[in-house]
Structure formats: C-alpha cells, structure tokens
Symmetry: C2
Subunit: 226 residues, 2 copies
Amino acid sequence: MSENQARSGVAAPRKSPNSPMPKDRSPTRIQKKNRATILEAALEVFSNNGFRGATVDQIARAAGLSKPNLLYYFPSKEAIFTELLSGLLDTWLDPLRAIDPDGDPLEELLAYVQRKLQMSRDFPRESRLFANEIVQGAPRMLDTLSKDLKPLLEEKADLIKGWMDAGKLNPTHPKHLLFSVWSLTQHYADFDVQVRTLMGDEDPFDAAPEHLDRMFRRMLTPADTR
Amino acid sequence: MSENQARSGVAAPRKSPNSPMPKDRSPTRIQKKNRATILEAALEVFSNNGFRGATVDQIARAAGLSKPNLLYYFPSKEAIFTELLSGLLDTWLDPLRAIDPDGDPLEELLAYVQRKLQMSRDFPRESRLFANEIVQGAPRMLDTLSKDLKPLLEEKADLIKGWMDAGKLNPTHPKHLLFSVWSLTQHYADFDVQVRTLMGDEDPFDAAPEHLDRMFRRMLTPADTR
DNA sequence: GTCTATATGATGATAGAC
DNA sequence: GTCTATCATCATATAGAC
C-alpha cells in the first residue's frame, strides 16, 4: 500500500541523461512497481487470450498505463511474455521439487497431488498461461521444457521408480504417472469454463480433492500390502 | 474416393445469375470438395494456432487456394471456425455415447478410456482445437457445452451413479470421474509437445494404454469383490 | 516518465477483371 | 470460380513534445 519513501543504502545520484532504462543502477521503486503491475496485468491478459490473442493495448489498459508508457518498461510484447514465463516457472514447479525422497512414498505423492490441485484452484491463470503456450506447440517454451523441466522430471521419475522397485508403490510407468498428476489437476484450471458449465452450481473444488485422493491412493497402494 | 457423379432425384437447372452461393440448389461436387478441403486445412491451422492465432492466409495456403477464393466458399473466418466445430463435435462425443447401459460396468468404462485414448492418438488436432477454445474461455462454444455436452454428460453420469449404487463400481463422484477420463486421455493430444519432449525417443502411446487401464481398473473395481 | 501522434506492417474482407 | 489489386482496420512499435 504505502510507497516506502526510504531508500536506505542505495546511493546513485548520477544518472546518465538520456538513457531510458539506465543500466548503471538498479531499478527505482517506481520502475519496480510499474513492472510488477505490468506483469500482473500481462498474466491476466495472456492467460485468457494466449500470446497472439493478447494485445499490448489490453495489457496497458489492465495495468492502467498508456501503450507507449508500457513499452517504456518493456521493449516489446514478446519481452513481457518471456519475462512472465521465466518468472513464474520456478513457483510452478515448486510442488514437484518438494517431493521428499526421505518421506513415505505414498503420502509424498498424495500430498503432491493435493498441492498441484491447490495450485489449480489458487493460480488458474498461471496454469492457463502454460496450457495456452503448450497446446500451440510451446514455441517460446521448448527450451525451458528441455533444460528445466526435463531434468527435474527425470530426477523425480527415478525416485518414484526406486520406490516402486522397492515395493513401496504399485508399479507403473513413472513418467506417465506424473503426467497423470499434471493432467488431472491442471484440468480444473485449464478447462475451468467447461467444468463449471457442466457442474452448474456445484463447486468443482469441493469434491475434486477427495476424488483425486481416492484415485491415486488406489492406484499407488501396493497390492501385497494387506 | 470416387466423386459419385450421379445425383438421382435432384432437379434444379435454374441458377440465379449472380448469386455467389446459390441457395436454390445443393452444392456442386466442386463446391463440396473445396469446402471439405478448406475445412481440413482449417483444422490444421486452427488447432495449431487457435482462432485468433490463425490467419485466413494460412488456411488458404494450406488448402491450396487464394484468400479471396477461400472467402468465396465461406463468408468469413468465423464461419469456417464454427462450421468446423459443429461438424466435429458429433464424432468427438461418439466414444461417450457408446457407453452401453446394458454392458458390464467396469468393462464399459475401461473400453471408453481406451477409445478416448485412441482418439487422442488418431485425432490430436481435433482435441487441440477444442482445447484451444476452452482454455480461452470457450467464447464460441459455451452454447454447445450447455446444449449438447451437458445433457449427455448428465445422462452418463446418472448411469455411472446407478452402477456405483448397485455396487458394480467403486463409488466416487461420477462427473469428476468422467472429467478424469477426459483430462488423462486428451492430455496426450493437447500437451503432445511437452510429453514428447520429456519422453525423448519413447513413444507416449506405447505405455499409455496400459497405464491408464491400470489406473481406472484399480479406481473402479469394487472393494468388496474378491 | 508519460503522453499524443504516427509510422509501419498484418490481416479480414471486398471489388471487379477474367 | 478464380484471380490481382485494394480497402479498412487493427496492432506493434517509435518519435517527439511536455
């Protein structure tokens, strides 16, 4: 809320005269705030329309800025989008990273499912942003998929494979299992309109946690445990 | 294959002079063929780019026509899209309709899952076409969802509910169960790029059928059956 | 830093010759 | 039925005043 006038240790009075985006000092508070506002607006617009469907004008209006002013903070529409993507990816993958190799296998995976489901409920725009991009061939995300997601997926798939080999989980294809978690949970964000249209008054997120818990508990409980 | 030259009982020799799309006679063979070609090209382009991301020029090139020539057969980009949607919807929902109330509950649902998975493998463009539209709020499909899909879903959800109440299936929320089938199977079409990037050489459709069969068999087998 | 005005290029759709 | 040429609109991005 408040504008936090105080800047403690930062002293950089010299400012190069005509540099629109000075590189010799960190961004001012206003710059930070405006960039954050823009990214928030961009998330709203991009997630609802995809990259091509979104216009700079829409984002500017949503951010309460004029179009040229917005393009003062970011060099292009593309730049807004890529910065948005890379900024959100870490948070988006946190639930997967949080799977603990030392925890109880079944409970770790069931907790992961619930974390992902909560992400779909609490951050549906992030989910749709990625969905939009991937359905259209992920032209701006292929590198990220290969370089960031793939190693992480393989690490966790190996972990799950180990649990299955040790008889702690009912065996199945580990990567397909993780795809299943993603598709089942993200469906509630990505296809929100359809789900809500088909469910009428009932809130999808009332029954979804229990349904998905049942689904994965049954799937993953080892057969020889009784 | 063959162009079926014979038109039996249809007599409409009079043709209004300057009507570009005559309403007093059925379309000629050429019209039919060209319209089909256009719709095929449109499916390709729309499914990869969404409505907004697709251009009439792209569709025309994919169809081997000039832009104005394409717009001779369809009044607008929007018209191509809606005709495409309505034409594909019936086929798309066939697997769900085919669930037989008189069949064995477990086998009916497992067969449904496999049919849907095959649709994702054989008709991924159709899946992505719908996905693209729904992720962005289904602006051109909301009516269809309410009027066509909703009644069908409710019919089948009731059927499944009955099976569960009769102890033939492990009880869970029927609609969520159907959403689960959709999300798990369509994921392989809609997120194809991601899945293939993450799986490398391995073909996703090698292990997916078995994985999903295991998933739903475990989920749906009644607990008291042994 | 923010604005108005505008350059520049795509894109949906039409005119009119053939 | 099909084409070339063209219009009108919209969208990204920039110029330049303030």
